[in-house]
Amino acid sequence: MSAVRETRSVPGRRVLRAGPVAWTFRPRTVLVPAVGAVLLLLVAAVNIGQGSSHIEVLDVLRTLFGGGDRRENGIIFDLRLPRTLAGVLVGAAFGLAGAVFQTIARNPLASPDILGVTWGAGVGAVGMIVLGGTRGQVSGAVAEFGIPLAALGCGVLAGLLLYALSWRSGIDGYRMVLVGIGLSAIGYNVVYWLLTVGDVDDATRATTWLVGNLADVGWESVTPVAIALAVLVPATLIYAHTLGGLQFGDDTARGLGIRVDAARGGLLLLAAALAAVATAAAGPITFVALATPQIALRLARTPQPPLAGSLVLGALLTVSADLAVRLAAPNLPVGVLTAILGAPYLIYLFVRSRQRTRA
């Protein structure tokens, strides 16, 4: 080993500086999202190619980058892209929200569904399905806009409630998680009570929504999600520089000059908004938010869930699950397959890992 030069403040790691900010360069934190993004593009292209008229992967890629003929453009951009794009956006949002939640709660089990946000959204959507009409009469405009709107409203409300109830001269991670448990227990039980109130057809539709479904997504629901995420994702990524300090605990973080309450409160609201928007679009694909940060952490070998990795892997897992739905089980919602694909991989990763992991 050569002697470590003075410019390297972390032994063995190169430091990148740009004005007031500095990073340590860890190859795997770049490699994991890069490889993930390439895989994501491929899987998305294969997914877009599926349908009544099959399109080859290369043709899909050519069309996506602007080289398609009229027929290909029509099929891909008007009909097929919304579903895949929704998978990418929703998966990315869940992955990012999960990584932020797990880091600020310093708990590998903390995901938006444990903190009440997705169950809050579930109350809105299932309430709309079950109470909005008799015997599965929710359709047309109510189904198209009513369900996502109700889900978004209730999800955001749950996030705000979580913030307000956890606030007690500051946001404390431990208290926040416990308040979240309380909120999500209320939401969860209201949802399942609603399921027993309605008839079995409504219950089946509600269960489909609750597991997460991409099959019926069109441009009208992708566009709002895309706009919301275009604001929320950069905001989260910029705000997230405080996460590195927060993981050491409040006192150390304060010592490092982080305004702990503002940082944690802001990130909590951002992540809750991400989860609520994603849930409103495709239902609570809960497993993505729980698993991808842990998968990304193990692949990138970082001490806490890497944000970019979680974002890309969340999208990859969701789109892969959607592809599996189309190829193997056309009647199942995508949420079923995210768990069936993602859980064994997560189990494999920590069975294989030789190191002990903490958060």
Binding site: L109, L178, L183, A185, Q294, P333, I340, T357
Partner: protein, 349 residues
């Protein structure tokens, strides 16, 4: 430090210890009394109130009157199952949070709930099982298998099961089973019908046979749990420290997992997943009893039983028995829990 000073602080500590022991015994006795009162209320109250005198007569010398039938075949078993399930879930939750050192670990985290649900759904769809008596053994078998799988997955690789691998293995296996359950019930209407009512969790409509089926498992699980408490106290310092103190971490964890599986498996297969009890009860118990698991576990059992009975009675009073105990618990219990959590000086794991 001077000897006299040490001696003085020692006696001061002894006195404080005795005082806190007395206080905790008092609270424990109060909880026991509360359980008796709740049990009496649970037997006496409902659509047809039975006077307490008649309850006693019905239990000791039945004559076959209407009151006797209500007490002996409806409310008696319901109360007994509520007590068993409450104790099992409270204690199971305390052990689960202790072993994973995670405040959001619920007793179903070992995969027990989803394992039981999966086995029952398979039983309904494939073997056409109907009725609770059939469900119980399927549920129990599923809970056992899932718990063993989760524990083994958490234990392979690295240096045995750590709190994090145990929690994550449980979460991953639960999610996998949940996915499989959803896949089955979405395709099968009959499975959906059975699943959605079983899933809410209820202690109503079970007879003494069901109570008799789960009671032995709860008793054995409880004994194992009590035997596990000194070990949990050392594990609370971290696995490495516990090993250094001479504790066999692996044996302690196996014992704990066995106790959790028996307790929660019994409760889940008899009542369905009554969410939330096992999650909040340990926090309430920790606030009352402090971090010592030898105290915390009995506290958690009693609080669990009181809470389940109280939620059940309240559900009967306000809604004429249309709200299952799990729903009542969450809707009434969660705000109280949130209030408790917001107190200053919250007891932590």
């Amino acid at each position: 430090m001077a000897g006299s000073l040490t001696a003085r602080t020692d006696t001061a500590r002894d006195r404080a210890g005795a005082r806190s022991r007395r206080r905790r015994l008092l609270v424990l006795a109060a909880l026991g009394a509360a359980l008796l009162v709740m049990a009496a209320l649970s037997i006496a109250y409902g659509a047809h109130p039975v006077p307490l005198g008649s309850v006693w007569r019905a239990l000791t010398q039945p004559t076959g009157s209407e009151d006797d039938i209500i007490v002996r075949s409806l409310r008696g078993p319901r109360t007994l199952i509520g007590v068993l399930a409450g104790i099992a879930l409270g204690v199971g939750g305390a052990l689960m949070q202790g072993h994973t050192r995670n405040p959001i670990a619920d007793p179903g985290l070992l995969g027990v709930n989803q394992g039981a649900a999966f086995a029952i759904v398979v039983g309904v769809v494939v073997f056409e099982v109907t009725g609770l008596h059939g469900f119980i053994w399927f549920g129990f078998a599923g809970a056992l298998v899932a718990a063993v799988v989760v524990f083994l997955l958490g234990a392979v690789g690295g240096r045995g099961s750590t709190p994090v691998t145990l929690a994550l293995a449980g979460a991953a296996v639960s999610a996998l089973l949940y996915g499989l359950i959803s896949a089955v019930v979405l395709a099968d209407r009959q499975g959906m019908e059975a699943y959605r009512f079983w899933h809410v969790g209820s202690i109503a409509g079970r007879d003494f046979t069901v109570a008799g089926q789960i009671a032995p498992f709860v008793v054995v699980g409880l004994l194992l749990a009590l035997a596990n408490t000194p070990g949990l106290n050392t594990l609370a310092l971290g696995d490495d420290m516990a090993t250094a103190l001479g504790r066999d971490v692996r044996r302690t964890r196996v014992l704990g997992v066995l106790a959790i599986t028996l307790l929660v498996g019994a409760a889940v297969s008899a009542c369905g997943p009554i969410a939330f009890v096992g999650l909040i009860v340990p926090h309430v118990a920790r606030a009352l009893a402090g971090p010592d698991y030898r105290w915390l576990v009995p506290f958690a059992g009693l609080i669990g039983a009181v809470l389940v009975l109280a939620a059940d009675v309240l559900g009967r009073l306000v809604s004429g028995d249309r709200l299952e105990v799990g729903i009542m618990l969450a809707v009434v219990g969660a705000p109280v829990f949130i209030h408790l959590v917001r107190r200053k000086g919250l007891a932590r794991i």
